[in-house]
């Protein structure tokens, strides 16, 4: 069965700077998504992402070892080795894809990986042609959704 949708708007989850410059997103629920997704689900996603970024940016034993080893080799080792941050980014990418498939796509939403938007979290809101609910009015929708 053909099922098409068009982009209605994009919602941006703001960064939470209360802990400093680390990458962290606010768990405040954006009002534009009120009737699209349950609060608890989005909050869970954001909290999990935050914990991934905490893991990536942790300044501890492993990061010191990595830093000192890299410095001793004039950082040439980074040409062949993947840094811990990059490994965590891959995990994040997989997590976002999984969340999109399981939770967000069925609700007509799409999470964009923050690394693609300069560490800003973007949620695209699509309108289901098959949905009977009213769509949030937006200045972005120019494509006709006439049936």
């Amino acid at each position: 069965m053909q099922h098409t949708a068009s982009l209605v708007t994009k919602v941006f989850i703001q960064r939470d700077y209360s802990e400093g410059t680390v990458c962290r997103f606010q768990t405040k629920f954006p009002t534009e998504l009120d009737n699209r997704i349950e609060r608890a689900l989005l909050e869970q996603t954001v909290k999990t992402l935050n914990s991934y970024y905490v893991e990536a940016e942790k300044v501890g034993g492993q990061s010191y070892l990595e830093g000192c080893l890299a410095c001793a080799t004039a950082y040439i080792v980074f040409l062949c080795m993947e840094t811990r941050y990059e490994k965590v980014l891959k995990k994040i990418s997989g997590y976002i894809q999984e969340q999109n498939e399981k939770i967000y796509a069925p609700r007509g939403l799409l999470l964009t990986d923050p690394i693609e938007r300069g560490m800003r979290l973007e949620i695209s809101v699509f309108e289901d042609r098959g949905s009977s609910g009213s769509s949030p009015s937006s200045s972005m929708s120019s494509c006709g959704t006439a049936r």
Binding site: F12, F78, Y85, Q97, M119, C143
Partner: protein, 381 residues
């Protein structure tokens, strides 16, 4: 009659706004003016070449072969740090795409409420509390984002850079979050190299003069005079700069914050980013995680260019802030790519060959610093 569109794949760096130069198909990223960087390279390579040519043969024989070996290692390390500082992305923050810029504008308008006509709206500042300190986040009119704390807009490169330290013409790039440690190691090791060469020049001249006399030494190794001159002047500036940055690192401050006096003085409060422990601060700055670039310079994107010859290149309808990238097809099966962008671009191109503003017409009138109350008052004063 609408123009025929040719879609071709380009690398994202080709469409990045800002005044950077890219080399090696996006692998290298520098500022536009590179003249002083070439001078830096010339001075380092030239002085070291003279050292290896004139001093090293004598010292290797008369003192120890370890001397030139160590000099070579130090030289290679200095070059590696210099090139890493110059060629890497300092931590540039990508500009907001039109939807995000629009979202932020709407949020600002909602927060400002109704501004009486004739009165300028308040300046665009967000306050956040970090470690019991109120930090003001400023809005960047060029990049159309609220800058994260410690980020600043570099007017030379025309980019917002995260943890902006300063723009260094000697390395031909900004120094920011991603390349600060390489910059510091460059200044440190260059100071060591300068001291090393200077010291062994003196040793060499003294040793040779004992045998041959001072003047004939200088005649035999004319390079020594040049090296001593270059090293003497470089030494003071490099050691001073290294000392200054060591001080900044121990306090976890940036040059930008130091110059502006953000955290000095009684009224300004304490630095909320400092751990109040010199070792912890040093460890965080020098041994912290290596942040990846958020620019994705080598990613591929679609670019629509007209087949017709009358409009000036593929980007003639761009304003510097907008990107022509279509959003990638979502994972939802049978979804169309968001095509609210396509028809408006095609319509613009077919109806008016002149440069029209792109879908920005849908955005609320974009504010500029001149329309904000405080910034214009500050300018007039």
């Amino acid at each position: 009659m609408s123009a025929v569109m040719i879609t071709r794949k380009v690398r994202k760096w080709e469409k990045l706004p800002g005044k950077n130069t890219f080399c090696c198909d996006g692998r290298v990223m520098m500022a536009r003016q590179k003249g002083i960087f070439y001078l830096t390279l010339f001075l380092i390579v030239g002085t070291c070449s003279l050292f290896f040519a004139f001093e090293c043969p004598y010292l290797a024989v008369h003192l120890s072969p370890a001397i030139p070996v160590f000099a070579v290692l130090l030289f290679l390390f200095v070059m590696a740090m210099l090139l890493r500082t110059s060629f890497s992305d300092p931590g540039v923050l990508p500009r907001a795409l039109p939807e995000e810029a629009n979202f932020i504008e709407m949020e600002i308008e909602a927060a400002n409420g109704n501004v009486p006509s004739g009165q300028r709206p308040p300046p665009r500042i967000r306050n956040v509390q970090i470690n019991n300190q109120i930090v003001k986040l400023k809005y960047c009119y060029t990049c159309k984002i609220f800058r994260p704390p410690r980020a600043s807009h570099c007017s030379i490169c025309d980019n917002c850079v995260d943890r902006f330290d300063h723009h260094c013409p000697w390395v031909g790039n900004c120094v920011g979050k991603r390349n600060y440690r390489y910059f510091y190691l460059f200044t440190l090791t260059l100071s060591l190299l300068t001291i090393y060469i200077f010291a062994f020049n003196i040793v060499h001249v003294v040793m040779r003069s004992v045998d041959q006399g001072f003047l004939s030494t200088l005649k035999e190794t004319p390079g020594t005079v040049l090296e001593v001159l270059v090293c003497f002047f470089t030494l003071w500036s490099m050691v001073g700069l290294t000392g200054f940055h060591t001080y900044l690192i121990s306090l976890n401050q940036t040059t930008n914050e130091d110059i502006k006096g953000s955290w000095s003085g009684k009224n300004r409060g304490q630095n909320p980013y400092s751990h109040m422990n010199i070792i912890k601060n040093c460890c965080e700055v020098l041994c912290g995680p290596t942040y990846p670039s958020v620019l994705d310079r080598r990613g591929l994107m679609q670019e629509d260019s007209p087949a017709a010859a009358n409009s000036g290149g593929p980007c003639s309808f761009d304003n510097p802030g907008a990107q022509t990238a279509k959003t990638t097809a979502p994972l939802i099966p049978n979804e169309e790519t968001p095509d609210d962008v396509k028809p408006s671009i095609a319509a613009e191109k077919s109806s008016a060959p002149k440069d029209d503003p792109p879908p920005a017409a849908k955005l609320p009138p974009l504010a500029s610093p001149e329309t904000d109350a405080d910034t214009s008052i500050a300018k007039n004063q």
